[in-house]
Symmetry: C2
Subunit: 238 residues, 2 copies
């Protein structure tokens, strides 16, 4: 059963490959999002079993990164994509690097959950700031993946703007922890773990922002990294 | 003056472009290495002017990242490279992302220098552990760039092995700072800054290791991320 039009067949097959590539990124993104949620849950409930599960799942994230990377190389060699297809492949190569590092940060948070539950096994109300920060950052990752799925630059810009708020929340958690440590040096070890978790969340926010920037590059062909969000929006959206 | 052999001319021009690409990466790497050195110097001498200079130079690093990224996209479109040339372009795209993030970490260290000099303006001998860590990590970055320049997988493996030692030194600095904080809560703020600087150095070591992994991918065509160094060496070097 030879195809009627081989060119069309090849092109159709290529479309399928690109579609498949995007789906794999979204699958990896979904897994990474789940890893953050579970790590934060483990921290809130001081659930060591859950924390160990997060840690154990990290190799699935890593495996997806390697598979998708290989697929990108294969497409570059065999399809020699141009214009928007090429931008998609480059954006995918970069996006999965950030997703993999988000996975690493989730693993770090899980480790903090294990540390803290090894201390006194009580989740203190004074760590509520961290929970707010985590909700904010998980939303950023979700929105960045959504912008990638819908190829929506406006949604991507919203994620980038969100990062400023995440940074403010992060600074507030850090100041709060510093105050606790000074007031009661017995809380130092635990406060340091919370600070590390907060820093991991702040980095996750940065990675989500990076993904937003790749979406804008992908859709609009503009590299807006390293310029202010105001300049970028003026430059790109007018 | 038409060329005698257009094919050869094109190929020669392409070689030049690839050579130029590598040189630009090495230039960016040299700048980033200098940024870490100067940031650490600023911290040791509590030299605010030097720290501000590091912070101000970060946009050069960012500018190089954008330029090299564009050059990579241009080569992919116009040259449609295959095999080792393609691996070089992909490795460059990834390497400059890590270099740019090393630049960000250098900026973070410079910020800590500014914070600490704003406190009591004394660099305490108890921070010598951080200096050892910094020497180790700067050497890793230097060696990773050297492995990239010489396309030397053995040197790249050495960098990856070095990261374990860096992690041990990092843990030792962190434990030491924790002890100081517990003994004398008045040192908490400053110890936290030193901890942040140590964490920045530890991340720089991770980025140097990533670059080592790209060199191995580039030269040997093997993706050794996410497997143990022992397995990788057995797999690759036999």
């Amino acid at each position: 059963m030879a195809p009627v039009n081989p060119n069309q067949h090849i092109s159709h097959k290529f479309d399928e490959e690109m579609e498949n590539l995007r789906n794999q990124v979204l699958k990896m993104g979904g897994l990474v999002e789940q890893q953050i949620r579970r790590a934060i849950d483990a921290l809130r409930k001081l659930d060591m079993v859950e924390a160990e599960a997060v840690s154990g799942n990290d190799h699935y994230v890593n495996g997806l990164e390697v598979t998708i990377d290989e697929e990108c190389a294969r497409i570059l060699v065999r399809r020699q994509p141009a214009a928007s297809d090429l931008r998609m492949v480059v954006a995918v190569i970069k996006t999965i690097t950030d997703l993999e590092r988000i996975g690493d940060e989730a693993q770090r948070i899980a480790k903090m959950a294990i540390n803290i539950s090894g201390n006194d096994g009580v989740f203190h109300n004074r760590y509520l700031g961290l929970m707010h920060l985590s909700e904010h950052v998980i939303k950023m990752v979700h929105d960045a993946l959504d912008a990638f799925a819908r190829l929506d630059p406006d949604a991507a810009f919203a994620v980038i703007r969100d990062d400023e708020k995440a940074d403010i929340e992060y600074q507030s958690v850090m100041r709060q922890m510093l105050t606790y440590m000074m007031e009661d040096p017995r809380t130092i070890t635990e406060s340091l773990d919370i600070m590390q978790a907060a820093r991991a969340l702040e980095r996750i926010g940065d990675h989500a922002m990076n993904i937003g920037e790749y979406v804008i590059y992908l859709v609009l062909g503009k590299d807006i990294r390293h310029i202010s969000i105001e300049d970028a929006e003026r430059d790109v959206l007018t």
